[in-house]
Amino acid sequence: MYDYSDFDESFVRTRVAQFSDQVSRRLDGSLTEDEFRPLRLMNGLYLQLHAYMLRVAIPYGTINPRQMRQLAYIADTWDKGYGHFTTRQNIQFNWPKLPDVPAILSALADVEMHAIQTSGNCVRNVTADHFAGAAADEIEDPRPYAELLRQWSTDHPEFQFLPRKFKIAITGSPHDRAVTAAHDIGLRMTTRDGAPGFEVFVGGGLGRTPMIGHLVRDFLPVADLLPYVEAVLSVYNTLGRRDNKYKARIKITVFETGKEAITQMIEDRFAEVKPLFHGADQTLLTNIRAAFAQPDLVTKPTEAFDAFYKADPAFRAWADTNLSAHRQADHAIVTVSIKAHGETPGDATSHQMRVIADLAETFGYSELRISHEQNVILPHVHKSDLPAVHAALSLAGLGTANVGLLSDIIACPGMDYCALATARSIPVAQEIATHFEALKLEHEIGPLKIKISGCINACGHHHVGHIGILGLDRAGVENYQITLGGDGTERAAIGEKTGPGFAYDDIVPAIERILRAYLALRTHQEETFLDAFRRVGMAPFKAALYDGESAQDAA
């Protein structure tokens, strides 16, 4: 992975020194809260419902074992022994105390990490396919481009005060695991005449006005990436609405300007910007590429895997759900589930972080990724090592065989932590997982993505969940709205509302009614929930949700 240059190191250390001074001045009264707030947000420090929260960037979800151990150390030293992996491939600490934050940032800098640009109206952490560099279907590892974008966008003077925050996602595979269509800019790698390039989507986003990104360029040669992205940002920076926070994202700019007009404006600006790039970006990209060289994968027999797969049902269940195809057939991509039934989605204890770091070093070429689905990935594991990996994970409470299934739920922190939330999400996720575990229906139901947000800002990606749940405050009571048919892949779609929402105590039974209706109407076991929904539409699910309810009321 990319190691900091002297420039990066000095930049991060300087920022830690600056912010340490700012914290001192806040604590001694030299800075008011109004003066301090933008400074702390620039450094990822929020004040949440019960405490401060520090959001630490994990660029494009790539992290090494040494960094993971340092996160564990921070969790033990200054927090409550755990961290929360987010849908933005970041990690959040929920309980730091303000006087300790400079020490935490310094500890992060020791392992080439920081919390810069994890908040504010700037280009945020660039997210990427969590199978990057390992996926069997990958055209090219997208991370060198993501790192190029990170370096370009960090402290970029033109883009520090955008109309609103700006999120870029990138995938190197035709199968989109990075939800690129729901980002301000989505980059999907493709090829033309054998040369790699990007399809560029602009103006996607979830939140209160969910939109799927518009294709503004069907083939962008990779060498044009920075000037083109700069042109998009430049047009947005000029046109974006600073008068209304709720209309400030680029999705609204695209909507109000029109796809054709904004595409032309981007191309015109690109024509101006392109000649200003004299190739330094390409030299940089070449150097960055070298840092992402593939590990030398071992070759050895895989009989141990086959024997365990036959003999051990627990291992077989885990292998069936948590492994994905690696580009080298004798290796596998392991998704470590941070979704044990009844636990908080995305929360890992310091012990679990250390176990994962050890496994990455012993069996995984020291590589790790964090997924936007709040799991941890060991991208390269030889198949013969999988039984040992599974055994170690299971001992640490990390062996749950549920990736891609009902209990592999994305949930934002919701009103248990977040100051913006209008309802809780975590307990809803916990109860759905334990309820269906007790019914033993999870494997019968098969592939299913449930995504839960605790407010309209949609950090839990509920719009692109096959089943989306949105927690709202209806007249002082928690109320949960359901959407069906959302999809975050290359077939991206925004879920459709079922109708009136459900009270906190009624949401799990409502989900059960939907899923029992699905089991009853699917044509065969291989027809997934999403496929069935696409075939039959909303009506049978609406009937299952609401007809029974009115009958009950009448009874």
Binding site: G29, L47, H50, A51, N94, L98, R424, I426
Partner: protein, 102 residues
């Protein structure tokens, strides 16, 4: 006295720790909602809020939250405020764990 005024408490987060606190009638900041001053007059509420907001070295983000009288002192009305009196529901963290040491 304002008619139909929903009583209020002044609440904020501690500057250093971030803990949720409530302003008491004798000008302390308490972790316990029941110790808060229950303010039933709108003008007095504004005065108490200004007083709280001026304590820049102690608290952040002071605001007035709806409350009602209870047997042991003021009680929150909205569920958000009820959560703030305790802490998160997924772990025994925050005030629900710390309050026994107060």
């Amino acid at each position: 006295m304002t008619r139909n005024y929903i009583p209020k408490v002044v609440t904020a987060n501690r500057l250093r720790e971030g803990d949720v606190v409530y302003q008491t009638a004798d000008d302390r900041w308490s972790l316990l909602h029941a110790e808060a001053e229950l303010i039933e007059d709108e003008a007095h509420a504004q005065m108490r809020l200004l007083h709280a907001a001026a304590q820049k070295l102690l608290v952040v983000g002071a605001y007035l939250a709806d409350a009602k009288p209870g047997p042991n002192g003021p009680e929150p009305i909205h569920f958000r405020e009820a959560f703030r009196t305790r802490g998160p529901s997924n772990y025994n963290h925050g005030k629900q764990a710390d309050a026994k040491n107060v």
